[in-house]
């Protein structure tokens, strides 16, 4: 190429323009014959014709126009224009470029313009175009400027593309900001309304309709007439209906002028696009995007507008999802808070004062029995209303127990008909007094039914009370019947009935049916709800049927047998604690509704009739009958004593031995125990001893009966602690007298103690007394309520049965054990510790204790109280967990990262075996993320897959608990539905608190994932943008480059690298770093990069390039202080000329591992002192040396000197000098990246000298010698010794000869020789496209000689042959 014949010199090559120039009648033109042209013009034309860049030569006073093939597309229909004056060719832009050309002609100084916007009509419309022009003066042989040389590039696509990417990125950056749909639309409209979308209108569908409403308009100040829709406005309704975009081309006819977005004419067309809903959902709205007339509505523009619509839809959808999730999470939390607050208030605030009102009130009623009638009536009013309030509070407490799983049922087989009939009989007087017929039809069922008596009583009493309340004529009917495997209990009335539309809400809590008429307006609306809960606990169902005006019928169905009940709650017949009639409040209430409002005391007594054989409750006042416990093993005696004492007005409990008596007393102390001395299991004397041994029972008086007469026996009994002694046979009157005396004595004696017990029992806080050994010897009712352990098993010795299990929960055990040892060592204190309810569920108790001296025994005991703080504990835990989740999700770098750290958090929280997150997208294969080893859907056990799959059918954010030990929940995930599955491992229950917490966490996670997803997308957009600007991936041989954005915050920055191939084969190298981050820095970077490219092409050397770049940077906002390393490398020699504008020095690593910094040629960063001179330096890269250029993000770390970073980078290159440069680039980026990723962006450029060689030649023997010559020159540049050069030449020559000889005996093809060197290794490969024949020494003894030579001369030779060809791969070590 360098020695062409003189004739082709001016117009070389076969291009169209070369042909035209050769054919042009120059001699007849103003420019004259080319033979007479100045040499500089000839050179310029020659460069122009052989260049692949668009170039123009303007010559002479009229700037006649010569151009090359690459310029043709830019010229459009103005071609051909060869030799025409510039003014004629570019008439439409001459006012802009004319003066620039003139200035070059007159001043003789080069100039250029970057991304010059020229409105141009080259395709039939006025379009916006961008050009980068460099103008260099062309002198004639005398040195006079006579023309201008211009290298041009059309940057329209890039500039417009960057601008559109910028718009999309700005839109993407709005992700996660909007807290409402309206705000999302506003944000979108504010971002748009500029160049590429001069006008935008967003219409959203009104929820549940097909109507659209304008949601936002951009720019904001646009004429309201432009948003009309309907027949003469935007076809938005049609787009909403069809879901297909419509292009409107008669915008100018339909509307007032739309905003032009800065262009001289207003839009004539617009695209109306649907806004699609979340995957598969309904179209949520429509967006109108005006098309700027600056660009044709081509495919790129359309896809940009589609992307804008999609981003808009994403933002709006995100806002919709945010609103929905926010609402749900708030609702859940609110409901939970309200509930917890309400029930704890009720329990704490109501019961204690009620007890303290009712006790004294009852006493007053006794004392004032003979007082003035008015006083008695008022006391009765107070008493009745107290009972009502107590009933209401008890019902609410029942609810709170059921909710907390603390309701302890004991299912006992009973004759359901008898029990129900007895309950009904309690109501008989009230029903009859109301003038209603009362039908009770309860024939025996023939099989017992398992019920909890206390609960059943509430069920029946509630239903009856309800019936009386709403029935004015006719009857109330109670019946029991059997229906297959169920018992059916019906309570029916002929009352006012319930309207059909109210029926479904009948059992709803706090829902009161509005009725036309009832006996009372009182009612809390929770009676029926409680009934349903209680029936549900029995495994039964309750239904109601009703006709307004005719009556209501409730039917309860209870299963027979015990399979439906928890086995541990089933007890044998009669084993249940005595149940005390709670009927009184119900009956009292019902009686108050009746017209006369009267009741007498006999009714009152009838109302407290015993149910199921239990005895009436003892109460505080003397008006209450005394309770006597009788123990005798002789059935006749027992019966006699019972009858006798009942006739005397006592409430009697009969037991058959001392042991049973002891248990009864412990559970519920009577006023007196009458016991035989001789009994099985535990005799009378031992019973007395046992009772006296416990403080709780020590005060119960005991009357012993014995057949043994004599002083001795009597002393023995009294010595044991009995209060009195009676010898059989005895007179009935004597017994009654002694019983009365003992009861009265004990009442006097125990008055104080009873008050204490009543008070202690009325405490809502649990109360306990511990002896010095730590054994719990006394507890109250609340203690049993909270922990499930009753007084019957006292004392409880340590380790107490409510301690958490040491095996399954060592941490909780440790806490409790530490708290307990605090009791032993401190005089008083308080602590919070986990405890376990008898049924196994976890509670948190806040206890306080103090040591006191028992005045009776003189022993030191611990008195303590504790409160169930489970709700508070979980509330705190919940807030902590939510905060932890928010933090983790906000720190996550990506969606997967966010999910992974959330799973770890859930696992810690629940101490779970494993936690899984499964994305149930549209695909067959759900994605699995697990804290365990499972990572693939198909590796999960089948039952687990089924269970997780079944979550699809559950509502979002609702916890599904199918079996103990696991729970699942679903939430929205950007790629579909996300199921979170928690496996507790053991059969720990997933409690109501756990469910609330999981639902709240899932709600928060949903929002977090949405945000993380948007960060992912923004990051991708940012990277795409940066890489788009950094441009085509074509790199000259021997180079490797990398760009990595900063990890946090989002990555785009101002770093860049560039290589520019100069016409003479040298290569311009640039690495630069603009100050700042974000789109602005990227834009400045893009401009500087283009400018630097153009300047390098002028070939004025690195220093001058930087000086010229200074002038440009000084005018470019944001470019000041940019650092640049600029060099020009001759790849033939490794000679590098370079200059650095404040940039960190390049690092050269020689083949022997020594390193050198390129620190000369340094000057200030760009635009700091625009007029200053800059120096440059030269350096010859030694053979196999590696050059590393970079930006400071690679080496700069907080609190570390730059030198340390450079040393580290040099060390990494040093250790990698034996690997190919591309691998080395990856190696450097990996090794130098901090654990959390780069916190500044990084650009990196590597070059190893010499660049790898690649020669392709025809498979003919004539080609061998030139290839060898080329390889020899390259090997010398790679610094190999003469002998090794010869060895490699022969080995490579053999491989080439073989390729020719073997590979292409039939046809001719090409052979490719490649050579590359690292610091200590040379690699040569020869590739052909034929099949090698392995040498057959027998056929031809000389055949094998070539391969023998190759193996002998090189260190490693491999031959790989397959159907497409053969490759010989050879390595030789290069000695240091």
């Amino acid at each position: 190429m360098r020695d062409e014949k003189p004739g082709d010199l001016v117009f070389p090559g076969g291009s169209e323009m070369a042909r035209r120039m050769r054919a042009h009648p120059w001699s007849d033109s103003a420019m004259g014959s080319p033979q007479d042209w100045p040499a500089s013009l000839g050179t310029a034309v020659r460069i122009c014709l052989t260049s692949r860049f668009p170039m123009i030569v303007w010559w002479g006073p009229r700037l006649r126009f010569l151009y090359n093939d690459a310029y043709l597309p830019l010229l459009g229909t103005n071609h051909p224009a060869l030799g025409k004056p510039g003014e004629e060719v570019w008439a439409e832009i001459w006012h802009i470029i004319g003066p620039m050309l003139e200035s070059v002609m007159t001043s003789g100084e080069a100039t250029w313009s970057e991304d010059l916007m020229l409105p141009m009509s080259r395709h039939g419309y006025w379009e916006e175009t961008y050009w980068t022009y460099s103008y260099s003066p062309l002198q004639d042989d005398e040195g006079t400027v006579r023309g201008v040389f211009t290298a041009v590039s059309d940057t329209t696509e890039r500039v417009v593309g960057e601008r559109r990417l910028g718009v999309l990125q700005d839109l993407g950056a709005q992700a996660g900001r909007a807290r409402s749909v309206a705000e999302a639309c506003r944000l979108v409209a504010d971002v748009l309304g500029a160049e590429d979308v001069p006008f935008i209108a967003i219409y959203l569908r009104k929820p549940g309709t097909d109507e659209l409403a304008l949601a936002a308009l951009g720019p904001r100040e646009t004429d309201p007439l432009t948003v009309a829709h309907g027949p003469h406005g935007w076809p938005v309704d049609e787009v909403l209906r069809t879901g297909e975009p419509i292009t409107v081309t008669d915008v100018a006819d339909r509307f007032p002028p739309l905003p032009s977005g800065g262009w001289q004419t207003t839009p004539t067309s617009a695209v109306v696009l649907p806004l699609s809903g979340e995957t598969g959902g309904q179209t949520i709205g429509v967006v109108v995007l005006a098309v700027s007339v600056r660009r044709a509505l081509d495919e790129a523009y359309r896809s940009f507008l589609t992307l804008v619509a999609r981003q808009t839809a994403d933002l709006v959808n995100a806002a919709i999802a945010y609103e929905a999730q926010q609402r749900r999470a708030e609702e859940l939390a609110e409901l939970d808070r309200a509930k917890t607050l309400f029930f704890s208030n009720v329990s704490h605030e109501f019961r204690t004062p009620l007890t303290l009102i009712m006790g004294p009130l009852q006493e007053l009623r006794g004392v004032l029995a003979d007082a003035d009638e008015r006083v008695r009536e008022e006391l009765d009013v107070m008493y009745r209303n107290g009972l009502r309030l107590g009933k209401l509070v008890n019902t609410l407490l029942d609810f709170s127990r059921i909710e907390a799983g603390r309701m302890r049922a004991r299912y006992e087989p009973v004759d359901l008909s008898a029990v129900t009939a007895e309950l009904a009989s309690v109501f008989r007087s009230a029903v009859e007094k109301a003038g209603l017929a009362f039908e009770v039809d309860c024939p025996p069922l023939g099989e017992p039914v398992h019920i909890d008596r206390g609960m059943w009583e509430k069920v029946i009493l509630n239903l009856l009370s309800n019936a009386v309340k709403f029935t004015f004529d006719g009857s109330v009917r109670v019946s029991v019947a059997r229906d297959g495997e169920h018992a059916v209990v019906t309570v029916a009335d002929t009352g006012i009935g319930v309207a059909e539309n109210e029926l479904p809400r009948l059992f709803e809590r706090f829902h009161r049916i509005h009725s036309a008429r009832s006996r009372s307006n009182e009612g809390s609306g929770i009676g029926l709800a409680l009934v349903r809960e209680l029936v549900g606990l029995h495994g039964g169902t309750i239904t109601a049927s009703s006709t307004a005006g005719e009556g209501t019928s409730f039917a309860i169905r209870l299963p027979l047998g015990v399979e439906h009940l928890p086995a541990e709650d089933v007890v044998p017949a009669g084993a249940q604690d005595a149940v005390f009639a709670s009927a009184d409040p119900y009956v009292q209430e019902a009686l108050r509704w009746l017209p006369d409002g009267e009741r007498d005391d006999s009714d009152d007594l009838a109302g407290s009739v015993v149910v199921g054989g239990a005895v009436p409750a003892s109460a505080l006042g003397p008006s209450k009958p005394a309770r006597v416990l009788v123990a005798d093993d002789n059935a006749d005696m027992l019966q006699y004593l019972t009858r006798l004492l009942r006739s005397g007005g006592y409430q009697v409990t009969a037991v058959v031995d001392g042991q049973e008596a002891l248990e009864q007393v412990r559970a519920n102390a009577p006023d007196l125990v009458v016991s035989d001395v001789m009994m099985p299991r535990l005799d009378g004397l031992s019973l007395v001893t046992a009772l006296r041994a416990e403080s709780r029972t020590a005060g119960v008086p005991v009357l012993l009966l014995s057949a043994r007469a004599g002083q001795e026996a009597s002393i023995e009994g009294l010595a044991a602690g009995a209060d009195d002694y009676l010898v059989k046979p005895f007179a009935a009157a004597d017994l009654l007298a002694r019983v009365r005396a003992n009861v009265e004595l004990s009442r006097l004696r125990n008055h104080h103690a009873q008050w204490r017990t009543a008070l202690v029992d009325s405490l809502q806080e649990a109360f306990f007394v511990c002896d010095e050994e730590g054994a719990v010897i006394e507890i109250n009712t609340a203690f049993t309520d909270i922990l499930g352990f009753g007084p019957e098993d006292l004392p409880y010795r340590p380790v107490h049965p409510w301690w958490p299990d040491q095996e399954t929960d060592p941490e909780a055990y440790r806490l409790t054990s530490a708290a307990f040892s605090q009791i032993a060592t401190e005089a008083k204190g308080s602590y919070i510790a986990p405890v376990e309810h008898r049924d196994g569920h976890r509670l948190w108790a806040a206890a306080s204790f103090s040591w006191v001296e028992d005045p009776d025994s003189g022993r030191r005991v611990v008195v303590g109280t504790f409160r169930d703080v489970t709700a508070e504990h979980y509330a705190v835990q919940r807030e902590t967990a939510l905060a932890a989740l928010s933090l983790r999700v906000s720190e996550a770098e990506s969606l997967t990262d966010a999910l992974r750290s959330t799973l770890a958090l859930l696992r810690e929280l629940w101490r779970a075996d494993r936690v899984l997150a499964v994305t149930l997208g549209d695909s067959e294969q759900p994605e699995v993320l697990s804290t365990g080893p499972e990572d693939r859907w198909e590796r999960l056990p089948r039952p687990l897959r089924d269970a997780i799959g079944a979550l699809r059918d559950e509502p979002l954010l609702t916890v599904a608990v199918r079996e103990a030990g696991s729970a699942g929940i679903t939430l929205e995930h950007p790629r579909g539905l996300l199921a979170v599955w928690i496996d507790l491992g053991e059969n720990r229950p997933f409690s109501a608190e756990d469910q609330t917490l999981l639902a709240l966490l899932a709600g928060r996670l949903g929002q977090g994932l949405h945000r993380a997803h948007q960060i992912d997308q923004q990051r991708e957009t940012a990277l795409a943008l940066q890489r788009a600007i950094l441009g085509p991936s074509h790199l000259p041989d021997g180079f490797a480059v990398r760009y990595e954005p900063a990890t946090r915050p989002l990555g785009v920055g101002g770093d860049w690298y560039d290589t520019v191939e100069l016409p003479d084969g040298r290569i311009g190298i640039v690495v630069g770093d603009c100050v700042g981050r974000g789109l602005k820095a990227a834009t400045v970077m893009g401009q500087l990069r283009s400018a630097c490219r153009a300047l390098l092409l002028q070939d004025t050397g690195p220093a001058n390039t930087l000086v010229a770049l200074d002038r440009f940077a000084a005018r470019l906002s944001g470019a000041i202080c940019t650092t640049v390393f600029c060099g020009v490398l001759d790849p033939e020699t490794g000679h590098l000329v370079y200059a650095s504008a404040g940039h960190p020095p390049g690092i050269v690593t020689r083949a022997d591992g020594t390193t050198l910094l390129l620190q000369e040629g340094r000057s200030l960063p760009l635009a700091v002192q625009p007029s200053a001179e800059r120096g440059q330096a030269e350096y010859a890269l030694p053979p196999r040396a590696t050059l590393l250029l970079y930006t400071d993000g690679l080496i700069e770390r907080r609190r570390r000197s730059l030198t340390v970073g450079m040393d580290q980078a040099a060390a990494v290159v040093q250790e990698g000098r034996a690997i190919p440069v591309d691998e080395l680039a990856t190696h450097i980026m990996t090794r130098l990246a901090p654990a959390a990723g780069f916190d500044d962006d990084v650009a990196l450029l590597l070059y190893r000298n010499p660049a790898p060689l690649q020669v392709t030649f025809p498979a003919e023997s004539g080609g061998l010698a030139p290839v060898r010559a080329t390889l020899r020159r390259w090997l010398e540049r790679a610094g190999l010794g003469t002998r090794q050069v010869q060895d490699v030449l022969v080995a490579a020559g053999e491989a080439c000869a073989n390729a020719i000889e073997h590979g292409y005996r039939q046809a001719t093809g090409t052979v490719v020789l490649r050579a590359a060197a690292t610091a200590d290794d040379l690699r040569v490969t020869v590739t052909d496209t034929g099949a090698w024949k392995l040498p057959d020494p027998a056929a031809n003894p000389h055949r094998g000689r070539g391969i023998t030579l190759m193996r002998a001369l090189m260190d490693q030779v491999t031959v790989e042959s397959n159907t497409v060809g053969t490759t010989v791969d050879m390595h030789a070590r290069i000695p240091a």
Partner: protein
């Protein structure tokens, strides 16, 4: 294009025939080299390869086939490895290669 090769025959002062080769020998010109070697003289000759800076297996094969025609082979150390590795030095008397 062909591989550069110049062949000339002469006689030493003692009258023994000499074939002097300069350039490179590969498969492209091995036939020419054979032709020159076989036609240069009836009697064994001195083969002067001091001007050859490349010789591959194609050239070696010519030397092996015509070994009995070569009385003495003179070359520079540059060709030494190839001649030794191939085993030619055991068949033909050489000079100047080590």
């Amino acid at each position: 294009m062909t591989t550069p090769l110049t062949l000339s025959t002469s006689r030493r002062e003692d009258g023994s025939p000499v074939l002097t080769v300069t350039g490179e020998i590969d498969m492209n010109n091995a036939d020419t080299f054979t032709e020159a070697l076989t036609s240069a003289s009836e009697e064994p000759l001195v083969l002067d390869l001091t001007g050859v800076d490349y010789l591959d297996s194609a050239g070696l094969t010519v030397l092996f086939v015509n070994a009995e025609r070569i009385r003495l082979l003179v070359a520079t150390p540059l060709l030494g490895p190839v001649l030794k590795i191939s085993g030619l030095t055991e068949l033909v008397t050489t000079d100047g290669i080590s």
